[in-house]
């Protein structure tokens, strides 16, 4: 398969144990360049653990994460983020007491260079850099559709705007891979539908490869090119949304054995 050469992010045989308890069991997973893929599974399937391995929060017991052509397994969280793997959080984690603009600008930290001296004496370079950062932040806020919140404190934004701000902040890292952790949690069907369109637009506009963790099946089925299903730490199925929908093991995992029997 030529998949590995065009993979934006490639996780190989990831195995995570917490003191003997296997959370993720030998899972391989690929995000092809410029695609939207999804990771689904019932609660406790190991989705978030897997996610945390990709972003460097956990070091896998064994296995490797390849980003582009570099292995990033066990790298520092901020190193992985700087190299272009951005994420949002399931339970929104914005910097609540900072404005929307400041939130986005924090994520530009690694793309900026002003040190103590330049900041104190506002050198020409520092001023230009700040100006450019503010402009880019506004561009991103406009892009996600909350351009009117620039100087609003993040904690005062509405729930939907906070979710959008998280995306804008992640985009400020100029990522090549974007990991979205349950982005439509708490949204109504209308908002979810808008969000699906937005994710597709994001992929097309910026050429970013996107990984979704989702509970909302309709979102997953609409937007993903491939779906991977985890259950009790193991990969039980992988394929197109249509394949997954009719996969027996998936139905069993979600509805239980008798459920699959009943659906026959």
């Amino acid at each position: 398969m030529s998949l590995s050469s065009t993979a934006a992010l490639d996780a190989q045989n990831i195995h995570v144990e917490f003191g003997g308890l296997v959370a993720v069991d030998d899972v391989s997973f690929t995000i092809p360049q410029g695609s939207i893929v999804s990771l689904i599974g019932p609660n406790g399937a190991g989705k978030t653990t897997f996610f945390n391995v990709l972003t460097g929060l956990y070091k896998p017991t064994s296995g490797a994460v390849i980003f582009g052509d570099k292995e990033i397994t066990g790298n520092q969280v901020h190193d992985i983020a700087q190299s272009g793997v951005a994420r949002t959080f399931q339970n929104i984690r914005l910097f609540g007491l900072m404005t929307a603009q400041e939130n986005v600008m924090v994520a530009m930290h690694s793309h900026m260079s002003a040190g103590v001296y330049a900041t104190i004496f506002r050198t020409k370079k520092q001023r230009a850099e700040e100006e450019e950062a503010r402009r880019f932040a506004q561009e991103l806020l406009d892009y996600v559709g909350i351009g009117y919140t620039t100087h609003e404190y993040a904690r005062n934004l509405s729930y939907g705007d906070q979710r959008r701000l998280e995306v804008a902040r992640a985009l400020a890292l100029r990522p090549s891979v974007l990991l979205l952790d349950e982005p439509t949690a708490g949204m109504n069907p209308n908002e979810s539908a808008t969000f699906v369109q937005f994710v597709q637009k994001l992929k097309e506009d910026k050429g970013i490869s996107i990984l979704l963790i989702e509970h909302d099946m309709s979102v997953v089925m609409q937007v993903s090119e491939r779906v991977t299903v985890l259950d009790q730490g193991q990969k039980i199925a992988e394929g197109t949304p249509a394949e997954i929908r009719s996969n027996r093991r998936v139905i069993e995992a979600y509805l239980g054995k008798s459920g699959s029997e009943a659906s026959k």
């Binding site: 901020h78 983020a81 930290h109 690694s110 850099e129 100087h151 609003e152 890292l173």
Partner: protein
């Protein structure tokens, strides 16, 4: 301009207003003491000497400097440091070592200004000593912060607490380290050089000049603090204070960023230490105790964590009350009501009372950051909601 943009504009204007206010106060105090008071009648002189002596006002400037240094660590980055006095002590001893006859094994004079007949020892130029004081404390900040900033902040608080005890104890007992007298023990190092700045020698009793010098230092620290907060580093500190994990996930290197706040805060303490040593003309170990760390921390918290002008106000009020207010107000009360309370001895009782009252009625401090004010008030609203909810349940 939208309402919010206007509010942000107002912050900038506010900064300017405060800066002008600070400069004006410093200027007025200076002119008053140079031109007016020497010619005033004794009653006026006595009043100012008792309530606003130039010495106590100069000391207040040092406290402001210290509190602003700690504010970078505690207020900006949200790291709890309980041993800030160590940096004060280290800065002070740098001045003691590098601009006095004390280290008589050496005889160095680098643009210094030794007193006539005291050529032995090291005599560096005062500017160089200020820089070296900052560098020296930064190095100690690195030694302490390096390993501990990887830990969770509670552990940092414990380590700094120990550090704040160890350094002063070392200074107090350092008169014979392997046969070398490093700190002169409890006697301390006296007879510091009179600093010579652009050809002007600040004499031992030249208080107006000393006051001007420490005021300039405090002013510079205010300026640095504001500039740093508004820049790339300040944003990263704030982000870490808000949510460490999210900050690192957004590419902010945690350790390095915390570390920079700790080192820069330490430099503030070191420079303040040098300034204080020059002000009192020496450095004495018994002054550097744990209580000082706590008082500086209280200045930051009571003034309004994170807000530069709040910390300036907090430092001014607490330092004045500690040095002058308690004694003077106490005497006033004693003479008016014919009582015999020894007010200064109740310092910590009153101090504790003030802290408790502030925590009860104004947790955000005298002059909080705009952002902090919002949260604190919100929590109050939630409390009200809870109470009304309870009442509803009760009435059923």
């Amino acid at each position: 301009m939208t309402k919010i943009e206007a509010a942000h504009h107002a912050v900038g204007v506010n900064n300017k207003k405060w800066a002008i206010g600070f400069s004006t106060v410093v200027g007025v105090i200076f002119l008053l003491n140079v031109f007016v008071l020497p010619n005033a009648n004794t009653q006026v002189q006595r009043f100012f000497n008792a309530w606003f002596s130039l010495n106590s006002l100069a000391e207040i400037m040092i406290w402001i400097l210290m509190a602003l240094g700690l504010n970078i660590i505690v207020g900006y980055a949200g790291l709890l440091d309980l041993g800030y006095v160590a940096f004060w002590a280290l800065g002070g001893y740098v001045a003691g070592w590098l601009m006095s006859p004390f280290l008589s094994q050496f005889q160095v004079n680098f643009f210094g200004n030794p007193r006539p007949g005291f050529d032995q020892g090291i005599h560096f130029n005062v500017f160089l000593v200020l820089i070296l004081g900052g560098v020296f404390t930064a190095i100690w900040g690195i030694i302490i912060g390096g390993p501990t900033l990887r830990l969770k902040s509670d552990y940092l608080a414990l380590v700094t607490l120990g550090f704040g005890e160890i350094i002063p104890q070392f200074m107090l007992n350092g008169s014979d380290i392997g046969g070398i007298n490093v700190t002169n023990g409890a006697q301390g190092i006296g007879g510091l050089d009179q600093p010579k700045i652009f050809g002007y020698t600040i004499g031992t009793f030249d208080l107006p000049a000393k006051f001007l010098m420490v005021s300039l230092m405090a002013g510079a620290m205010i300026f640095f603090s504001i500039r740093l907060r508004d820049g790339r580093l300040g944003r990263a500190w704030l982000a870490i204070r808000e949510d460490e994990l999210a900050a690192s996930m957004m590419g902010v290197p945690l350790w390095r960023t915390k570390f920079s706040s700790y080192a820069i805060g330490a430099v503030g303490g070191g420079i303040g230490g040098v300034g204080f040593a020059i002000l009192v003309g020496g450095v004495y170990a018994d002054r550097f105790n744990f209580v000082i760390s706590i008082i500086i921390l209280a200045m930051v918290v009571l003034g309004g964590m994170g807000n530069v002008w709040g910390v300036v106000v907090g430092a001014t009020v607490l330092a004045w009350v500690n040095a002058v207010g308690l004694v003077q107000v106490g005497e006033l009360i004693n003479s008016t009501f014919d009582t015999k309370f020894n007010f200064p001895s109740y310092q910590f009782l009153l101090f504790g009372l003030l802290l408790v009252l502030m925590m009860l009625f104004r947790r955000e401090g005298f002059l909080p950051e705009a952002r902090m004010r919002m949260v604190m008030n919100e929590e109050k609203l939630e409390d009200v909601e809870k109470v009304t909810d309870d009442k509803k349940i009760g009435s059923h």
